[in-house]
């Protein structure tokens, strides 16, 4: 029993001695999605040799980094049996505000811009959290409402204008694209945040409380967990990470527009769900979400490489999501049966 090797233990079925190695592998929730990724990689690289190059791989990583950050936030919310549909609007609003500050005060240190973004995001997230916990509004309704509120604020704030590349300081653009450590900063940020969230969810009591609250809210209260605080926290974290993602978004795309990140919320939910996060709460792991985002990134990338028209890509993505969810259900059912 090696404790260190329990990555993704929330999904791992308990190991009994009778079953073999392959069965155990199947019990790891991430096995299915890893297999799908592997098959996809093999198939695509046969069709398009350009796929298996370091450059292309870096491309994929760059493209999914922001998705990873926000999906991790979404995952924490989903684990508590909530949902945050407002992340896209938080990104839009924070990106706009930070970009305007940078345009007005080009001398602003990048570090303060990042902090500002995170602070603004946290305030917006706490609005969701307060409405949901103390206002007793169902999460899907609360964040559906705040999605339009925050998006409306973007328009009200910017008067419909947007910030272009030339209006942003050069060092700000480097925040995401610079490679002082060999890899693009953006990728490094995503990795660091993934590690932090992993540690938080696995090695802190508060992190475990998040699972407890989603798994059985009444029992959590019996066990002395302050469920309101835990829920408030996840929405604040969701805001914080979305705020950070907003700054990175403005830096990477060198602009802030009124429709920045429109529709992004559903992508984050998708990456989480494909990664094995349960929408009924209680289950979900960081490695799973990383794989989920990676799968989405690879699909997008490979559909381009094998020259499937950009227009059919979305359909293929949607279909793959459905296949992933359905096969997941059947795999789980089979595992349950074999165990008995």
């Amino acid at each position: 029993m090696n404790i260190q090797n329990t990555a993704g233990e929330a999904h791992k079925k308990a190991t009994t001695k009778k079953t073999g190695f392959w069965m155990n592998l199947l019990r790891v929730r991430e096995a299915g999605i890893s297999l799908i990724i592997l098959i996809l990689v093999v198939l695509v690289s046969l069709r398009a040799p350009a796929f298996l190059t370091a450059d292309n791989f870096m491309d994929i990583l760059m493209n999914i980094s922001i998705l990873v950050i926000v999906s991790l936030a979404q995952t924490m919310v989903l684990i508590t049996h909530g949902i945050d549909l407002s992340v896209s609007s938080i990104i839009g609003l924070v990106a706009m505000m930070v970009a305007f500050i940078l345009k007005q005060y080009p001398g602003t240190p990048i570090f303060s811009a990042v902090l500002l973004g995170m602070a603004l995001g946290t305030v917006l997230g706490s609005f969701n959290g307060l409405v949901i916990t103390f206002g007793n509004v169902p999460p899907i309704i609360a964040t559906l409402g705040s999605q339009s509120i925050f998006r409306g604020l973007v328009f009200y704030y910017s008067q419909g204008t947007w910030i272009n590349s030339f209006e942003l300081p050069a060092n700000f653009k480097l925040l995401s694209k610079g490679t002082p450590l060999g890899l693009p900063n953006l990728v490094i940020f995503a990795v660091v945040i993934a590690v932090l969230v992993y540690f938080f969810l696995k090695y802190t009591r508060t992190g475990r409380d998040i699972y407890a609250v989603g798994s059985n809210p009444d029992a959590a209260q019996f066990a002395g967990i302050r469920t309101h605080r835990v829920k408030l926290l996840v929405y604040m974290l969701s805001g914080l990470l979305s705020g950070f993602a907003a700054v990175l978004w403005a830096s990477r795309f060198e602009s802030a527009q009124t429709n920045t990140a429109l529709g992004f919320e559903l992508q984050t939910v998708t990456a989480s769900v494909i990664g094995g996060v349960s929408t009924s709460g209680g289950a979900g792991t960081v490695p799973g979400v990383l794989l989920g985002a990676l799968l989405l990134g690879i699909i997008q990338n490979s559909l381009t490489l094998v020259r499937i028209s950009a227009f059919w890509q979305m359909a293929a993505q949607g279909l793959l999501i459905l296949i992933a969810v359905i096969s997941d259900k059947y795999i789980l059912e089979r595992v349950e049966k074999i165990k008995k």
Binding site: Q104, L120, P138, L144, S148, Y157, V269
Partner: protein, 375 residues
């Protein structure tokens, strides 16, 4: 532990066959009255603000803008009453309209193309219904998947092209008026369907089953309600009506683009929830949903006359949505607070929250001043 011996009055009669008197409140709940009040308020305010508000031509023109939302809202009410959701309605609408557009571009007869669009939309509903009703996957996850899938098919069908030049006998469905009146055809269609859906929801066994499922799915199963069959049917219905809405939209615009109606699913759900439907199922009426559609329509129309951007209009609707659920809860909370239980800690927390939000908006308006100066 259940409370025993509650509310048992008049032991001599045991039980009466009917409630003693029918008040209007049995027909209309508080919620619907609140909506009526809000509608009157919006009408009064807007009439004062703009002379163009109570203009029959304007109202006639603007009313057809909301009919796609209205149509999709009807089956959505059924779905939400059962405690489920359909995020794919707007994508389905785009898919069906695009398919029709594609066939039209290929020279197929417009009526055949329209029929094919309806069929495809219904098939989309069958897919949702099968996965939710039979495979028993969570509705949110399924319709999130089909949300992307259907919209993707729409792009696949038309790419960056648009379908145009629909014959006038087709565009009549979106632009025409019912003979001799100012009522747009689409509004008349919506009105007829709304009454039909309302009757089905409130006056049939099917409607009763929907409420039973939404209030307690397990008990419904134990009582012999064919739950999976009913779920299947409402999603198929939703697919069909979404396709119908797609055709109406195409007819109204006179063209189809694959991104038609993107994001409308959220407007549809907002309208339904503002109408008093509980997102967890079991509560709400068709009157409420229809009234809320009227309220949103009038509110947006009024704001449009004042040149308020459409996104800010949505913001007002979003606020209304949250406040409408928040307010009743807060009223009951505040009235139940016991004075001797108030703690300094909670007061401090409230003050801190207020300060944080005040700081946020101070910053918001301060930095916005610079924006305005630069525009």
């Amino acid at each position: 532990m259940k409370a025993e011996n509650s509310q048992e009055l008049k032991p001599e009669t045991l039980i009466a066959e009917k409630a003693e008197h029918y008040s209007l409140s049995t027909l209309f709940k508080h919620w619907e009255w609140m909506l009526v009040g809000l509608i009157i308020a919006v009408v009064l305010v807007n009439t004062n603000l703009s002379p163009y508000f109570l203009n029959a031509n304007n109202l006639s023109r603007t009313s057809s803008d909301f009919m796609e939302i209205g149509l999709m809202m009807l089956p959505m009410v059924f779905i939400i009453v059962t405690g489920n959701i359909d995020l794919s309605v707007a994508s389905n609408m785009g898919m069906s309209a695009s398919f029709m557009g594609l066939l039209h571009n290929m020279g197929v007869n417009i009526w055949v193309a329209a029929l094919a669009g309806l069929l495809l939309g219904t098939l989309g509903g069958v897919l949702n219904g099968y996965l939710v009703g039979r495979v028993k996957l969570p509705a949110l996850v399924v319709t999130l998947g089909t949300y992307a899938f259907f919209r993707g098919l729409a792009y696949g069908f038309l790419g960056d092209q648009a379908a145009r030049n629909y014959p006038p006998e087709f565009t009549y469905f979106g632009q025409g008026k019912v003979f001799g009146t100012l009522v747009p055809f689409s509004v008349a269609l919506f009105a007829v369907l709304a009454i039909l859906f309302g009757l089905v929801l409130h006056k049939t066994t099917f409607g009763r089953y929907l409420y039973a499922i939404g209030n307690n799915e397990n008990a419904a199963i134990y009582s012999g309600v064919p739950v999976s069959k009913i779920k299947f049917r409402i999603y198929v219905l939703s697919g069909f009506i979404s396709a119908l809405a797609g055709l109406i939209l195409a007819a109204r615009f006179g063209s189809t683009r694959p991104d038609n109606g993107t994001g409308l699913e959220l407007s549809v759900i907002t309208a339904a929830v503002l109408g008093g439907l509980d997102i967890n199922g079991g509560k709400g009426t068709m009157y409420g949903a229809a009234l809320s559609l009227l309220l949103i329509g009038l509110l947006k129309f009024g704001m449009g006359l004042m040149n308020i951007q459409s996104q800010v209009q949505s913001m007002v609707v979003g606020l209304l949505l949250i406040i409408s659920i928040l307010l009743p809860h807060f009223v009951s909370q505040i009235s139940s607070i016991r004075k001797d239980r108030i703690r300094w800690k909670s007061i401090l927390a409230i003050v801190a929250v207020v300060l944080v939000f005040a700081a946020f908006f101070a910053f918001f308006f301060w930095s916005r001043a610079a924006v305005i100066a630069s525009v």
